[in-house]
Symmetry: C2
Subunit: 424 residues, 2 copies
């Protein structure tokens, strides 16, 4: 049992039935790991008092430090507090201040009906509990501790409420118990795109495979392929903070030296932000012309705050008439080469640039499927063009379903702009 | 211990550290629930043999039926099989066919290096195990069972491989063990937008609150608010399939009768698809003009396969010059009223319609933040206009951060088109 090890129990039928994806769990894990606190096990149970109690009892026996989320909400779900209070042998006691607040809220919603007694249970608190204040909702959090120092912290399941309470109340409380951080879990990520996992493995060679003799100072290396590309992640566990930082930094430098041309950033870097920064530094304005991505490229660029000083806009040219009318694509080229062709991609990029007054135009035209493919032009075929001081187009064959093809195409278009600007 | 109750154990440091969100767990839960199999507990542990074994032992004692995902991958993670084999008292045995396949794959990637003996462990299978074929990757799944009929099924953690194996191998194996389905978990969802959770509660009234006397035949009702609106979900648990279907259907009809104007679909319905279907039925073409959403509205419409017969495209008018040049917004109106105004929204919608040849143009202009707000025009202010046979614009004040404001604005724009067309 270590001071910096915790178990997490997430409660809710919605989670267990798979209707809700458990993003709370990932958020709590990351927030705790950053403070040197390790989640050693995570358990999810439904809204049933006996199952909640059993899971908490087991976790207390194993680890002695337990965080729960969920089951503090409306009456029918409100099982967590009494179930856990019984484990600690505590009675439930009505907190008048909380009850008054709940009743006030009810009356505002249903002025003509009586406040149901079942709803008052939300204001019941185990005796001897410490309240974790909820500044973002009604249900308070609760910290219960026994004479051996074993504790359970209960938080609501609503993500906004949980996140606020974790940062403002729970993390400070856990940190205050720790006798100085002895070790942390620290990760570093190098983000690559335009190269397959197997090709990266070849560039790195077998000496990077994460055994104790590895070039990464024994840090394990994970390949994380996704639609944005392949992320390479190294993780240091159980080391003092400074040693972990040094090892992770050195490992990322080593990885970058092998895959330099494909690496666009580290950790949470977004390629759209990288492209905008590069344009900004070069005082260039950017515009888009999108067919198969249908606005996704513009959406990615404008998702970055402050994009308006670089990104002017562009045209969603889904129908061929729009390619002609709004981008000036020649009818005979559409006729002769088809909408998914080098010629049309180049004219779309030029049109986006010239009609918006930008210095760089980038276009995407492709076949996202599931229909519309032919043997000559199969689903996944994408032409991307960038028109700056000179023009170039590139053909891609992109794997995946409709959503993946569109996401990979948008990412490839951003990467093509990045490489164009990297060359100056 | 019931024939239709299973525990799920997901394995991986990446999950426990919160780097990866556990989408496998939700997928498996939904797939099993649809077959009448209930996941009663979910556990996540890291890549450590003893922790994996402990979690599996406990789950076997509680439920006797366990599915694991992860830990079947590359050598350093390959802890699951031997850890679980030991619980069953089985030795590991090399499967020559699997070993040959792995070696072949290695040689293709690293022609000049020796196949490491550590990699051969991936081809080791517990004695007496049944292989679950992996048609989408290299690591096979494994089914182990003891003389009491307690079983563990191990699947890989890569989502694509896991999903294939679940559908093709594991689900049929579990179903074959069940003595006819006695009860299922069944849910129905009514999707609403443009109305707050509290306003829905008021429309429904207190008799819908999910107690045994509720109007929903005792099915619990969950409010699931999100950027697309508020979903209302009823769930029937532990009932025979036909009875569950009937109750869920009746509950949805009852809910719909109360919130009719705001309900755009059921279950996984996407408002973009609803809008496209409505346009298609009326033989109308649609175009967009987007400022603060930057392409998101077009992206949502084109995410639907077959959208090209309705959606023509449009203009991402992020900069005011693009609003003027490509949509014909009058300079004096931009000057006098600002880009986020009724006048500009109306002219943008008209421009999108006229310049693409569509019958309906829809526009969005707003302040997504975090910067750019003023006391008169705060962050979250959005004007949306729809220009069909007649024109109308509406002002919204949308809550949330930049991403949420944009998502809510795009959804509100689609809803405004839906309501315009609903009126005929």
């Amino acid at each position: 049992m270590s001071a910096s090890q915790v178990e997490l129990i997430t409660i809710g039928d919605e989670l267990l039935l798979g209707f809700t994806i458990d993003t709370n769990a990932a958020h709590i894990s990351r927030a705790l790991a950053a403070s040197g606190i390790e989640i050693v096990r995570r358990t999810t149970v439904g809204d049933e008092a006996e199952r909640i109690a059993q899971a908490v009892r087991e976790a207390l026996d194993r680890t002695g430090a337990v965080i729960t989320t969920g089951g503090l909400g409306p009456t029918s779900d409100d099982l967590t507090k009494p179930a856990i209070a019984r484990i600690f042998g505590r009675a439930m006691k009505l907190d008048e201040a909380i009850a008054a607040k709940l009743e006030e809220r009810w009356r505002a919603r249903f002025p003509n009906s009586v406040f149901p007694s079942t709803n008052r249970t939300q204001a019941e608190i185990p005796e001897g509990a410490r309240i974790l204040v909820n500044r973002h909702g009604t249900a308070p959090g609760i910290w219960l501790e026994d004479e051996k120092g074993r504790w359970v912290a209960m938080m609501p399941g609503v993500p906004r409420e949980m996140r606020g309470m974790l940062a403002e109340e729970l993390l400070p409380a856990i940190k205050a118990r720790m006798q100085g951080v002895v070790s942390v879990v620290l990760s570093g990520t190098l983000r690559t795109t335009g190269i397959a996992e197997s090709a990266i493995a070849e560039l790195l060679g077998p000496s990077f495979l994460g055994d104790p003799q590895s070039e990464l100072g024994s840090l394990p290396l994970a390949y994380l392929p996704g639609v944005a590309g392949v992320d390479l992640r190294v993780t240091a566990k159980g080391l003092p903070p400074e040693r972990a930082q040094k090892l992770v930094k050195e490992a990322i430098v080593k990885l970058r030296s092998r895959v330099e041309a494909y690496a666009y950033g580290e950790d949470d870097a977004d390629l759209a932000a990288v492209v905008l920064d590069r344009c900004r530094a070069l005082h260039l304005k950017l515009a888009v012309a999108e067919s198969c991505t249908g606005g996704m490229l513009g959406e990615r660029l404008t998702s970055i705050p402050g994009s308006s000083d670089v990104f002017l806009g562009g045209v969603i040219a889904y129908h061929n008439d729009v390619k002609k009318e709004l981008l000036g694509v020649r009818a005979e080229d559409l006729e002769r080469h088809g909408a998914v062709s080098e010629e049309v991609a180049l004219q779309m990029a030029a049109g986006a640039r010239d009609r918006t007054g930008a210095q760089i135009g980038v276009s995407v035209t492709g076949i996202a499927g599931p229909g519309g493919g032919t043997p000559q032009k199969p689903v996944g075929l994408v032409w991307i063009a960038v028109h700056g001081s000179d023009a170039k187009a590139r053909r891609f064959h992109v794997p995946g379903d409709r959503a993946e093809i569109r996401q990979r195409a948008a990412q490839a278009a951003l990467e093509m702009v990045r490489r164009t600007l990297a060359k100056g």
